[in-house]
Amino acid sequence: MKAPAFLRRLFRPPLSCEDVNRFIVAYLDDALPDRLRARFEAHLAHCANCSAYLAQYRHTIALVREAEQLPPPPAELADLTLAFLQRHLDAPPPDADAADPS
C-alpha cells in the first residue's frame, strides 16, 4: 500500500552531494520545482563542500563570460556580405557559356 503524500514528503531522504551536482544546471537556470529547490538549498546550507563546488562552478561561468567579451563587429560587415551575395546570386551558372550555342 502506498503511503500518503505527506508521509512520503516527511520521510523523503535528503539529497546527496551527487544529486545536488546533477541539479546544478537547472538550479542556476531557476528551473527547479519549488520543493526540489528547497531541498537543494537545504543541502547547500549544511554542506560546505557542495557550497564551495557551486561557488567554483559559478566562478567558472563568470570567467568564461569575462574572458570571451568581443569588440563590436566591423561596421562594414553587412555591406561586404550584401556585396558577396550580389556577386554570387547574379553570377551566371559556371557552364552558362558552354551551354550558349551562339
Partner: protein, 197 residues
C-alpha cells in the same frame, strides 16, 4: 542585393523573405550580421574565416529558403546553418590538443557513496594569475573543449540563448543541452582550478 535600412525596426515580412524578395533578405542580413558574426567567430576563432563562413551562411540560407519548414523561428533556422558551417570550419582549423570524450570524463568530479571524493574551497581571486593571463588560460581551456561542448557553451553561456532555443539550433533535446553544458562547465572548472586554487 539592394541596400536596406537596418535602423528600421519594422518586422521583416516572412512571406516576402520566403518568396526570395531581395529587399527583405537584405534587411535580414543587416539585422542579423552582427550577432551571427559573433557566434561564428566564437566557434572558428578567426575573423577572416568568420566573415567568410557568415557570407556562405547567408548564401546557403537564400538558396535553401524553400526548405524552411516553419517549425522553428526563421532566425533559429539561420543560426543552425551558420553554426553547422562554423563547426565544419573549426574542425578544419582545429588545434592538436583538443580533449576527447574520455578526457572530459576524467575532468568530471567523482563521487563515493553520493559524496564528492575531493574537497573543495571557493577560489581565491587574490591567488589568481594576472587578469590578462587568466583570460588567456580561459581561452585555452575553451579551445580545448570538443566541438559539441564548446558550441553549447557559446550558445548558453556567451550568447545567453535559452535551453529551448539552443536545443532547436543544434537539433538535440533540451536534456542533451543541459548534460553537455554541465559536463563542459565542469571540465572548464577542472582545467582552471589549478590556476585558481
Amino acid at each position: 542585393m539592394p541596400s536596406a535600412d537596418a535602423a528600421s525596426n519594422d518586422p521583416i515580412d516572412l512571406e516576402a523573405l520566403l518568396s526570395g524578395d531581395r529587399q527583405a533578405f537584405a534587411l535580414l542580413v543587416r539585422r542579423e550580421s552582427p550577432r551571427l558574426f559573433q557566434v561564428i567567430l566564437r566557434i572558428v576563432r578567426d575573423e577572416d574565416e568568420a566573415r567568410s563562413v557568415m557570407q556562405e551562411t547567408f548564401l546557403q540560407a537564400y538558396q535553401r529558403l524553400a526548405t524552411f519548414r516553419r517549425e522553428a523561428r526563421f532566425t533559429t533556422w539561420l543560426y543552425a546553418i551558420g553554426i553547422n558551417q562554423a563547426r565544419a570550419a573549426a574542425r578544419r582549423l582545429r588545434r592538436q590538443d583538443v580533449l576527447d570524450e574520455q578526457d572530459i570524463d576524467r575532468l568530471q568530479p567523482t563521487f563515493r557513496n553520493g559524496m564528492y571524493v575531493s574537497r573543495y574551497q571557493p577560489w581565491n581571486p587574490q591567488q589568481a594569475a594576472e587578469r590578462t593571463e587568466l583570460h588567456r588560460l580561459v581561452h585555452e581551456a575553451i579551445d580545448r573543449l570538443p566541438d559539441i561542448y564548446r558550441t553549447v557553451v557559446v550558445l548558453r553561456d556567451l550568447e545567453e540563448r535559452s535551453t529551448t532555443e539552443t536545443a532547436a539550433i543544434l537539433g538535440i533535446s533540451e536534456g542533451a543541452v543541459r548534460v553537455r553544458l554541465h559536463r563542459a562547465r565542469q571540465a572548464l572548472r577542472a582545467l582552471l582550478s589549478e590556476h585558481l586554487s
